[in-house]
Amino acid sequence: MPPSRRLPDLEQLLGRIDRRLIYLGLFLITLAPLVGKWSLPLYVSRPPQLLYQAIEALPPDKLVVIASNWDAGSQAETRPQLIALVRHLIRRNLSFAIICTAYPTSPQLAQSAVEEAIRLESAPDRWPYGTRWVNLGFKLPDDPWLRSFSSSITGAVKVDVHNTPLAEIPVLRGVKRFGPEGQVSMLIDITGSATIDKWYEFLGPTKVKIGLACTAVMAPEQYPFLDSGQLSGLLTGMKGAAEYEQLLHAPGFAMPAMAGQSFAHLYIILLILIGNVAVLAARTRGRRR
């Protein structure tokens, strides 16, 4: 009887780890940083830096419009982006309005995310709904509506998400147009869907600054727009959100989530190496015989 029958040899041990153990490992290693709020240092790349600088340079008396076009399917990437951006706006003391054009469920998700951002900045009394920010709800973005929205916000939207007429909402008083001559200084599209092209088309001519935060899959196509200056900055998925949190020195969900990503990636690499050690072990044993 070969010795391997008595002792579970290296090859057996390392080469055939039960998949359930592997799954459990992945589960724990991704969850732990989220629960423990561990974060790792990040290297902030240029596109988030650009977005940060663009927001830093905005005039204080104008409004920022956030197009929140994500739903539960991409919330791990887009929700932290929204929270980080809103936190930055609060720190810069900039009022903002939320509009959703992709999913009917987005306004509610955006509402809870903004409320969390306000809580994280411990500013519930400084940022009451209506006087500093407003949620304009979901609108179907067909071309006529987009055209009207880009020329007059209050003309295209009549009531906010709670059905309050816009005239009764202080933050929108006098707000009409986008661009340097108008009252809106920037549009930031936070999206899990192909919404940005329409903004280029309809808001591009108004010369308003456009920022984009999108899922990782969509980002590569957007680099040309960053180069051409059509985009003032870009956040790429969860990584972009984490980089932004780093820029703000305000760790939220994304930094621990990126730590989870890092650990999980290393975990996979470790598993691959273990598997190969098993192969080597089998090979050397084969040679000995």
Binding site: R20, Y23, L26, T30, L31, L34, V35, A72, G73, S74, Q75, A76, E77, R79, T215, A216, V217, G237, M238, K239, F253, A257, G260, Q261, A264, H265, I268
Partner: protein, 222 residues
């Protein structure tokens, strides 16, 4: 943790239970997963029917026919009905007639698809093997070398992978054989890259679920 007896709470709890039931398949295929799978299938089929009616049959068939009275649309019903003869031996030829007509349409569309998708890539492949990159002080040598080598690599990849896909040429000549072999290796590099680049997106999905389970449902993550 919110109460399951409000509407919002009910949505949350249903979602959480559905999530856990689906994940249970990671341990092994089990009765709970089986129920979840069939519920999912039922809901998806119902939803599919709803979407087909809402997005296709109502706006482009029912409305023109019964509201705007474009009577020829009734013939679409006949054509659609002909599919249903697959269950009858005698009338099955009708289903074949409509199927082969559909196949003909599909085939006809392929020409434009090839034209739109692949032909432009031929023209886009005309990259010079030498790219002279100008720096502030004359020629930027490292830049030139890098850009040129990238384009050479491009050509090598294109030729060798295309050679791998030659089916009716016997690979007798060692040159052809080696080129095809290189093509296979280069493909493996590309596939490895695609695999590695996808991991992050998939993990993001899982982190999204963790966010749902442990922030919205059980508030572990604050």
């Amino acid at each position: 943790m919110s109460s399951p007896f409000t509407f919002e709470g009910a949505v949350l709890w249903l979602g959480a239970l559905a999530t856990l039931a689906m994940y249970s398949v990671l341990y092994r295929e089990n009765p709970v997963y089986r129920i979840a799978e069939h519920v999912f299938l039922g809901l998806a089929t119902g939803y599919g029917l709803y979407v087909i009616w809402r997005d296709v049959l109502f706006p482009i068939w029912y409305k023109p026919l019964f509201r705007e009275h474009h009577w020829p649309w009734i013939l679409a019903l006949v054509a659609g009905g002909m599919y249903y003869t697959i269950y009858s031996r005698r009338f099955a030829w009708m289903s074949r007639l409509v199927m082969t007509t559909m196949m003909g349409l599909v085939a006809g569309l392929a020409f434009r698809k090839f034209y739109g998708q692949f032909v432009p890539q031929i023209g886009a492949s005309f990259k010079p093997l030498v790219v002279l990159v100008k720096g502030p002080a004359g020629l930027d040598w490292p830049g030139t070398l890098f850009a040129s080598l990238s384009n050479v690599l491009f050509l090598v990849c294109l030729i060798s992978v295309l050679t791998y896909f030659f089916f009716t040429v016997e690979q007798r000549s060692p040159l052809v054989r080696r080129t095809a072999h290189t093509g296979r290796w280069l493909m493996m590099i590309a596939f490895g890259a695609m695999f590695g680049a996808t991991v992050m997106a998939r993990l993001s999905l899982f982190i999204g679920r963790l966010d749902f389970l442990f922030r919205e449902w059980i508030p572990l993550i604050r």
